[in-house]
């Protein structure tokens, strides 16, 4: 390459600054232009997941947890701990979707599960985020025998109402005998144990809390914040 002719520093700075300013304008325009669609996509993905884990859900209200109290959240409002109550066609509480997370085999596993106060059991389960090994650990999402664990997983409270009568435990593949056991998957032992642990820890606190605030949840369907499924 021939030697570049001498260029003043001012021209270099101007060229860089010019490109920088144009890039900035382009990025801001794209961000503003795509933001509504991106937020819509995220909300739709969460909504689909909620109605996936609560069979019979037709509308939902999201609640925030403030210490020992529940309050309905306005749309778009953020909260540290959220529970999504789903209601059936008649406005009766069909279940509550709860987000939980914990260490999986690779990175953090984020899951969503549905709790039904009628059967006092978990009625649905979905992995929101995972980096489990494709073909092995990700069987927690795809294996139908494993997902069948969450059709009616017993988490009923004991007589005092202060603890779960039979906390969720892990069972080896083919050895599930109780309604509160999660049957593991061959080839995905660590991932299925991780799911068991996440649900065990989450339900120990959340189910008791939800049972105490059941009336608030049931009344939620009459609030003005109900979002219909579409």
């Amino acid at each position: 390459m021939p030697a570049a002719e001498q260029v003043s520093s001012a021209r270099m700075v101007m060229a860089m600054a010019g490109i920088g300013i144009l890039s900035g304008i382009l990025l801001v325009a794209t961000y503003i232009g795509t933001l509504p669609a991106i937020e819509r996509n995220k909300a739709a993905a969460l909504e689909r997941a909620i109605f996936d884990v609560i069979p019979g859900g037709a509308s939902k209200v999201t609640f925030a947890r403030d210490g020992e109290k529940l309050r309905p959240l306005a749309e778009g409002e953020a909260a540290a701990v959220r529970y999504h109550a789903a209601y059936d066609e008649d406005g009766a509480l069909a279940g509550v979707a709860i987000e939980a997370q914990g260490q999986g085999f690779a990175d953090v596993l984020k899951v969503l599960y549905g709790y039904s106060p009628d059967c006092r059991c978990i009625v649905g389960f979905k992995v929101l985020e995972s980096k489990e090994t494709p073909g092995l650990g990700d069987k927690i999402e795809t294996d139908s025998a494993f997902t069948a664990n969450f059709e009616a997983l017993d988490v009923s409270l004991d007589e005092s109402g202060g603890a779960i009568a039979n906390p969720i435990v892990f069972a080896k593949p083919g050895q599930k005998s109780q309604a509160w056991q999660i049957e593991g998957i061959t080839g995905a032992t660590i991932s299925s144990k991780a799911v068991t642990r996440i649900l065990h820890e989450s339900t120990a606190d959340v189910v008791i809390f939800l049972e105490r605030n059941l009336q608030v949840l049931r009344d939620g369907s009459s609030s003005s914040l109900v979002a219909k499924s579409n």
Binding site: A4, M16, S23, L26, T34, I38, G135
Partner: protein
């Protein structure tokens, strides 16, 4: 480095069709120049992912080559690389937002690899070696050809890996329920195996053709 100089000489005299076609075969960024290996190996575990990363890279390559070619007189030589990276990074971020707006699922599947298009040396390489020395039309054609070659290569890997590792093509089961997936193919080692076999095939075909010419 006699070979690139010779091919550059050839490029300057090439017709529009050749400018486009050389990216597909003669100078295929993946199979011949071995550029952009990171996304090629990392996200080609399914046809859909391979297609998405290929098209996203092509989009960034086309836009940044066009802009680099348009601005070739305005950018002083001393700061050209920094300027190219700034231009490329901007279009990558634009692509990331657009993809997120189009499909949340595909964006999630590709993870950090959309952002990593910035450091795909194929794009910086074309900006430096071609777009900054040629007219806008030629730069755009070259970018389209290289992008098509890159997408084709990603698809070649993605289809073989998904077929063997998951028994499906673009999510549609091919082999029926009794097929035992060859899981290693959708794991990182599978990427190296499949790439190695494609390179073997490409080199064998080229050597055979060269032998015939002689």
């Amino acid at each position: 480095m006699a070979a690139p100089a010779a091919s550059l000489q050839k490029v300057t005299e090439a017709s529009s069709a050749d400018t486009f076609l050389k990216g597909l075969w003669e100078e295929n960024p993946v199979f011949v120049m071995l550029l952009g290996m990171c996304p090629v190996l990392a996200v080609t575990n399914s046809v859909i992912n391979a297609l998405a990363i290929g098209l996203a890279s092509t989009f960034v390559l086309l836009l940044s080559s066009t802009i680099v070619s348009l601005a070739q007189k305005l950018i002083p030589k001393q700061v050209r690389i920094a300027s190219y990276i700034l231009i490329i990074a901007s279009f990558v971020t634009v692509t990331e937002y657009l993809l997120q707006a189009l499909s949340y699922e595909i964006h999630k599947a590709l993870g950090a690899f959309i952002a990593l298009i910035v450091v795909n040396c194929m794009i910086l390489g074309r900006a430096e070696a071609f777009a900054s020395r040629n007219s806008v039309g030629k730069a755009a054609l070259d970018a389209l050809g290289m992008g098509a070659g890159f997408t084709l290569a990603c698809l070649s890997l993605g289809s073989v890996r998904e077929l063997l590792g998951n028994g499906s093509l673009a999510g549609i089961p091919v082999f029926g329920p009794n097929f035992e997936p060859w899981i290693i193919m959708i794991l990182p080692p599978g990427a190296f195996f499949v790439l190695g076999l494609w390179l073997l095939l490409f080199n064998w075909l080229r050597e055979r053709r060269e032998a015939q010419v002689e």
